[in-house]
């Protein structure tokens, strides 16, 4: 592979040089773009040459400058809210243009999977974000750009401030019990892409296929919606060099507050003198001992340019991120290049991409936060006399109670992820037949992961094992081939047709190995000399490896018909097969249809000047969810230890799962009706959607009677659930003057989830309790009930604290306290631009969800005080001296409002050397308004037991970023 990389790099370099030379034949054109009505100059209007992708924008005085290569070029002038003008290049040096305001936004291109259409023609529920709509600031990955921006799309950073954290993405509620929950992500045509392998600053547009009629073109992978991300591509134009650099600082704003050392001693002396033996006299803030003030920086360099027949873009991204937990670092190096070529006189368009990325990180040990929270603050950190435990202060005879500083210091973890992707698209334009093309796309990606963990002789939980080394390696690759034939044509002037037929083949392999060993003489090698330990010989070491593969094949087609931009209809059909399905159900059909009626195009409304667009949409589509592991339908045997047989220990093979020949995708059918509108010169626009989605054949691991079943559970399709909801998007431009503009966008979503059935004649799960709360409560807090909502909390009634100090709980009155899912989620973004300044404020809110407060349930009672610390809030009710009992007391309202993101930027108008200079400042996760008494009410909502705050929680941080963006 290394050699291939070198060849590729040379190839790219050659391309860049060719591109630099090609632009010499161009002429410079300048001019001013103005508003036709007011005559005021328009800042930020786009000027590009038709048929190419290159272009420029007008400056604050409306001035622009562009290089034109061919004498007969057509120049396209466009600006949001204005009619696009196409003008023939006259050959003169100056062209001044006045734009009429109009529904330009309606012509915005929207990706719909295997093709594009325009916003005005869309008939499904599709949300699009352009570059200017994306969140600003700093993000661990590109998912953060969408947070709060799309109605119905919940993006949650459940892992707090961990720099290697992943976002959780959930579209239109939870549509599955156990299968994949997050949307299919397609990045530049590559399905199932890892969003971490692009840089968030490189995202150009994001399109989200929300309803069944839109997502059905992705068949058995469409149920959770499809997010199509398009990154910045090669464009023709002058060579541009860009640099973006940012530095971020973080601060913990909210965390669970344990008793301070002083209060700890006071509470013990006053309320629990029997635990006085636990007072060691020191004063330690364990949280402070394991955290720091992190500084992170990110840098991006990009070079792009080229001509109509050869253009390129290359990006290099370097990041060094720190987390608040000491030693928790995440570095990232990403190289990406895109080359586009048009050859054979326009017959063949080529587009190739190469991505190399390396992520090196030391993951956080979240358990350290939990241990630090409940660790006795009167214990000192160190005890030099305790040589067995490496000089760390250690209490004996405990379970799950370890010195957090020892956990931090005595473990070294190095993770590495190497990703490589090559893909190429060849589009054969059958020029004699206008609008006919044959497109072939091949992508190959591979990813290697390596982790090395070493715990020294003094890592608390393994003292006595003389150090432990763990190495894990995984490798995966995926080959994807897509072949589509597309034909689009306008018949006469009224009829327009777009037809697509395609085939997809996808094959992936996953493999890995792991090893661990103990019994080292020295700690110096870490995991770099794993064989040096004695553990493998005396049974304290281990080796394992695995390999699996999956294959996915589809045939699909789609036709979109458009009459006079008034009546639009779209039908699609997909035939999907997956190797994961049982032999009785290898293939499935996924049909969809949708229609749209643009009422404003009817003669009776054409004269209404304030009405720019009014469209009614309706669609129905069937999608699937095949997001589960390989081989789940087969009766597999696996090794399971040893048995003594004739004096020798021999391997034992046992069934590791039950066979299920009927295993298949989860099926979802969805109705969606919607209205798109745009009024008053597009100053007020938006969309309203109503959907009903019914998911059936839901997979679950059912407990079965064993015997006769070989295994205690069976993975099978049984359940049904529905999600019904409304989504609203409103964008307004309350103020727009020559120098000041205010754009405000509100997204709102309401979703109602209902579990319709969970059992059938064959499979019972009468007790379907989820949401296990461990010690000291040991109870489930949620139930799956037919007719109820997923994530519903059930708890006994709570009636205060009794005179005996115990909580008064009614065991008879078990209440449905409510669901973890909010009734309403809101995102409100505001963009203000004044001359060179731009200010963005994003506010997000969720109203009505419930949350289980694990901190109060686990630590707000003094029975565990002594060995362990408790929440300082216990002192608010010192009458409560009994042990904790599970009740509604610990289920709280999770309603919150967050000022999520404030960013301020300034664009300098420079002429020399630099084309543009931008400075920006962003403050993220600044304020959370809530009545929730725990740490943060915004927790994971995507699991089967949503709405439970983890006590091993990595605290969220307020992030302050300063940055600059330079264009040369």
């Amino acid at each position: 592979m290394k050699r291939k990389t070198i060849i590729y790099s040379l190839f790219i370099l050659a391309g860049v040089i060719a591109g630099l030379q090609a632009q010499n034949q161009t002429k410079q054109l300048t001019g001013v773009v103005t508003d036709a009505a007011t005559g005021e100059p328009l800042t930020g209007a786009t000027i590009r040459i038709q048929g190419t992708s290159g272009g420029t924008t007008s400056d604050v005085n409306g001035k622009y400058s562009i290089e034109v290569s061919a004498p007969l070029s057509v120049l396209v002038f466009s600006f949001i809210g204005y009619q696009t003008q196409e003008l023939q290049y006259s050959g003169a040096g100056t062209m001044n243009v006045a734009l009429e305001s109009d529904a330009k936004m309606l012509d915005a291109v929207v990706a719909i999977g295997y093709g594009t259409t325009t916003k005005k023609e869309i008939t499904g529920a599709v949300s699009s974000l352009q570059a200017e709509d994306l969140n600003r600031g700093t993000f661990t990955n590109a998912a953060g750009l969408m947070q709060g921006r799309i109605a119905g799309l919940t993006v949650t950073n459940a892992s707090g401030g961990d720099p290697s954290a992943q976002y959780e993405i959930l579209l239109r509620g939870n549509n599955t019990l156990m299968a994949k929950r997050d949307p299919l992500i397609i990045i530049d045509g590559v399905a199932d892409a890892d969003i971490r392998n692009i840089n968030f600053q490189e995202v150009e547009t994001i399109d989200v296929l929300k309803d069944g009629s839109a997502a059905a073109i992705y068949g058995s992978r469409g149920t959770n919606g499809v997010i199509i991300i398009t990154t910045k591509r090669a464009h023709s134009g002058t060579t541009r060099v860009e640099y973006d650099g940012q530095v971020s600082f973080q601060k913990v704003t909210r965390r669970a507050e344990p008793l301070s050392a002083e209060d700890f001693a006071d509470v013990i002396n006053n309320f629990k003198p029997s635990s006085a033996g636990n007072l060691y006299g020191a004063s330690t803030d364990w949280f402070e001992e394991v955290t720091r003030s992190p500084v992170s920086h990110k840098h991006l360099f990009a070079i792009s340019g080229g001509t109509k027949i050869f253009s390129h873009r290359t990006v290099l991204n370097v990041e060094q991120n720190q987390g608040i937990q000491q030693k928790n670092n995440a570095d990232k190096y990403l190289f990406k290049t895109n080359i586009r070529q048009s050859i054979l006189g326009g017959w063949l368009d080529l587009d190739y991409n190469a991505t190399l990325s390396k992520r090196k990180y030391t993951p956080a040990n979240n358990d350290i936060f939990r241990q630090a929270f409940f660790h006795n603050p009167t214990e000192p950190v160190y005890d030099p006399s305790n040589s067995k435990y490496g000089g760390y202060f250690t209490v004996q005879n405990t379970m799950d109670y370890y010195n957090p500083v020892a956990m931090l210091r005595e473990r070294t973890a190095q993770y590495q992820n190497d990703f490589m992707e090559f893909n190429g698209r060849a589009t054969l334009n059958i020029i004699p037949v206008d609008g006919l093309k044959w497109d072939n796309f091949i992508s190959y990606k591979q990813e290697r992961f390596n982790s090395k963990i070493y715990r020294t002789h003094y890592y608390p939980s393994i003292v006595g094992s003389d150090g432990e080394a763990d190495i894990e390696n995984t490798y995966s690759n995926q080959l994807q081939w897509e072949s589509t034939v597309q034909y689009s044509h306008d018949f006469a002037s009224l009829h327009s047709l777009q037809v697509l037929a395609g085939y997809t083949f996808l094959q992936g392999y996953d493999e890995g190995s792991s090893m661990y060993n103990q019994g080292y003489d020295f700690d110096i090698w870490l995991a770099d000399n794993i064989g040096a330990g004695t553990g493998l010989v005396d049974g304290n070491g281990g080796l394992s490896s695995y390999k699996s593969s999956h294959r996915y094949i589809s045939f699909f087609g789609r036709a979109i018909y458009n009459y006079d931009e008034r009546y639009i209809a779209s039908v699609s059909l997909r035939r999907d097969g997956s190797s994961k399905f049982g032999t009785n159900h290898k293939w499935g059909w996924f049909p969809a249809a949708s229609i749209g009626w643009r009422i404003n195009r009817e003669s009776f409304l054409r004269s209404v000047k304030w009405l720019n667009d009014l469209k009614i949409r309706a669609g129905y589509g069937v999608t699937g969810n095949e997001g589960f592991g390989s081989y789940k339908s087969l009766l597999l045997m696996g090794g399971n230890g040893y048995v003594l047989s004739g004096g020798k220990w021999v391997n034992v093979y046992v069934p590791v799962q039950n066979a299920n020949r009927d295993l298949r995708w989860e099926k979802k059918s969805e109705w969606n009706v919607g209205i798109d509108f745009s009024f008053l010169n597009n100053r007020l626009s938006g969309a309203v959607d109503y959907y009903m989605r019914d998911a059936s054949d839901l997979l679950y691991e059912y407990e079965v009677s064993s015997p006769p079943w070989d295994y205690r559970t069976l993975f099978t399709n049984v359940g049904k659930l529905s999600n019904t909801g409304v989504e609203v998007l409103i964008t307004g431009i309350p103020v727009r003057t020559k120098s000041f503009e205010w754009i405000t966008t509100l997204t709102m979503a309401h979703n109602k989830n209902k579990l319709i059935s969970f059992t059938n004649e064959e499979f019972y799960n009468a007790i379907s309790e989820v949401g296990w709360i461990g010690d000291p409560i040991n109870a489930y807090c949620q139930k799956l009930t037919e007719g109820g909502t997923l994530g519903s909390f059930f708890a006994p009634e709570y009636a205060g604290t009794g005179s005996d100090g115990q909580e008064i709980i009614s065991v008879i009155k078990i209440k449905n306290v409510g669901s973890a899912y909010p009734d309403l989620t809101l995102g409100w973004s505001n963009t203000f631009t004044y001359k060179g300044f731009d200010l963005n404020i994003m506010i997000r809110a969720a109203i009505g969800g419930k949350i289980f407060n694990s901190y109060r349930a686990g630590y707000e009672n003094i029975t565990t005080l002594g060995l362990r610390n408790i929440l300082s809030s216990w002192t608010d009710n010192t009458n409560f001296t009994g042990s904790v009992k599970y009740s509604e007391k610990y289920i709280e309202d999770a309603t919150y409002m967050k000022i999520d993101n404030i960013s301020l930027g300034y664009n300098f108008n420079v002429k020399k050397v630099l084309q543009s200079v931008r400075f920006y400042f962003a403050a993220q996760n600044i304020l959370c308004l809530t009545n929730y008494k725990g740490v943060d009410p915004e927790v994971s909502l995507s699991g089967l037991s949503p709405g439970m705050e983890s006590t091993s929680y990595y605290p969220r941080t307020a992030v302050f970023t300063i940055g600059t963006h330079l264009t040369f």
Binding site: V463, S465, I553, S578, F581, Y631, G641, P708, R712, Y764
Partner: protein, 503 residues
């Protein structure tokens, strides 16, 4: 390069355009596993391996220990072991959601599943080899043992012998299961090995099957209301007369780290520090029973959990001269590995029952040392079990069952008490041997001390009518607690199952 890749890919893909068969790499499809006669022969090991679950943290053994009067799990000095599941067992407040009651049930039925699977597979197989009938018989007797355990604990249990029939199993009462077990053993006995040896170590032998029969008949009156002590006597005699077993000179020989040469152990679960290593199949009583200072005494590097102790009243019931007391328990002044007395560490075996809930101190409660702890530094934690093989059936048990069968029939017990081996059981403990004047009460007390923590105390207390008495940290319990409740999770998957009376 792209072009070559493209063309190569295109050709490769065309041929496999619509093929969706799954290729398995690191597991084995069931049909592929049994293409080999050797694998089939070894497959009975799968059934016997399920026994390894018996001595794990939460299994049938620890369940039976905790509901009897020989063991207690008090809250310890740092507040651990405070979970309600331990309180429920100690106080006979059994609930369907108790985790140990479920894991105890699962031990039995995982075993039955495995036995059914092995028997079905070998019967179906086209391979015919010498000893096939013996292998099937061994596994059928093992299955009978599992049904015996399940019937003893839960009484009314689901009954399945053929895993190919996936219909929900019916619930059968004790009489049905009893008859089934007896029939199975009777029809398998002719095929079993009669002489114990390396090849049948840890497997079902003639001696094992007869011991199981003896236990069945001895409890028949309790379970079914039908006395069968004559049959119990006959089964014991079959073992005695086989002369394959003997009482060891040393009590501890049966519990040593390397106890595979004990001639007293009839049926064992072989364990090994290296080969039985996971929380599902390791013998880890040292973690449950020892505190950190105790662990040092045996050079055990693991952080131990300091939970299970000898019930104080049970400890007090030993004769002071009974050497089995010090063979089984740590009490009094304790010493470190090099033999130096640990300052201030004097274990008080008897402490007040109030501390069961409020927490005992580190040196309260006698700690277990009956199974010799290997002191080579290999007991390193939850994955590292002990190498001591665990004897389920011992010859001493057979001799005491023989005496009990005679006593309960009103026969003279001298046929037992005159036996040299019978006398040796008490004399090696430093006690006077029983004479023909021994009583059933003598026998219950003696069984307690001889078989302390070997897992039979619950069954003995029920048979002797003492199970519902009050004892240390426990009040009198209702009679229905002689059966455990069927675990809620298992009831819910099989509507044929009715809860046991009282639950």
């Amino acid at each position: 390069m792209k072009k070559i890749l493209f063309i190569a890919g295109f050709i490769a893909l065309l041929s496999s355009c619509t093929n969706l068969d799954e290729k398995v790499y690191s597991d084995i499809l069931r049909e592929d596993l049994f293409e080999n006669e050797q694998v089939l022969k070894l497959y009975s090991g799968r059934a016997f391996q399920t026994l390894q679950g018996y001595c794990t943290e939460q299994s049938l053994w620890t369940l039976n220990l905790q509901v009897s009067d020989e063991c207690a799990v008090p809250v310890n000095s740092v507040g651990e072991w405070s979970q309600t599941r331990y309180r429920e067992l100690q106080q006979h407040n059994f609930v369907t959601s108790n985790k140990l009651i479920r894991t105890g049930w699962d031990f039995c039925f995982d075993g039955i599943t495995a036995c059914n699977d092995v028997i079905g597979e070998i019967k179906k197989s086209p391979f015919n080899f010498e000893g096939k009938e013996k292998i099937i018989s061994e596994v059928r007797v093992l299955r009978a043992f599992y049904y015996f355990c399940a019937m003893d604990g839960w009484g009314n249990i689901p009954f399945v012998t053929d895993n190919d029939d996936k219909s929900l199993p019916p619930q059968k009462n004790r009489q049905f299961i009893f008859d089934f077990i007896v029939d199975e053993i009777d029809s398998c006995l002719p095929h079993l090995d009669t002489v114990p040896g390396i090849d049948n170590y840890g497997r079902a032998t003639f001696g094992m099957a007869q011991t199981l029969l003896a236990k069945m008949y001895l409890n028949a009156e309790t379970w079914l209301g039908t006395p069968m002590y004559d049959k119990a006597e006959a089964a014991c005699l079959q073992i005695i007369n086989s002369r394959n077993y003997a009482i060891e000179n040393q009590y501890k020989t049966n519990f040593d780290v390397y106890n595979e040469n004990s001639r007293e152990n009839i049926f064992v679960i072989p364990y090994d520090n290296v080969y039985t290593t996971s929380d599902r199949n390791a013998f880890i009583i040292y973690l449950l029973a020892l505190g950190s200072t105790d662990a040092k005494k045996f050079n055990i590097p693991a952080s131990t959990w300091d939970g299970f102790v000898c019930q104080p009243d049970f400890f007090a019931s030993y004769d002071t001269v009974d050497t089995r007391r010090s063979a089984a328990w740590l009490y009094g002044q304790q010493y470190d590995y090099s033999g130096i007395a640990v300052d201030g560490y004097i274990i008080e075996p008897v402490f007040s029952e109030g501390k069961y809930l409020t927490g005992r101190t580190d040196n309260e409660g006698a700690k277990l040392c009956k199974w010799t702890y290997q002191d080579d530094g290999m007991l390193k934690g939850v994955d590292k079990g002990m190498s001591n093989d665990f004897a389920l059936f011992r010859y001493a048990d057979v001799l005491y069952m023989y005496a009990e069968a005679l006593l309960r029939q009103g026969k003279s017990v001298s046929a037992a008490t005159d036996m040299a081996d019978f006398q040796k059981i008490r004399s090696r403990a430093g006690l006077q041997p029983f004479t023909s004047s021994m009583t059933l009460d003598d026998l219950l007390r003696e069984r307690g001390h001889e078989f302390a923590w070997e897992g039979w105390r619950r069954q003995d207390l029920i048979r002797f009518g003492k199970f519902n008495d009050s004892w240390w940290a426990k009040g009198a319990s209702p009679a229905y607690t002689k059966l455990f409740p069927i675990p809620a999770e298992r009831l819910s998957v099989n509507p044929n199952l009715k809860p046991n009376p009282g639950y």
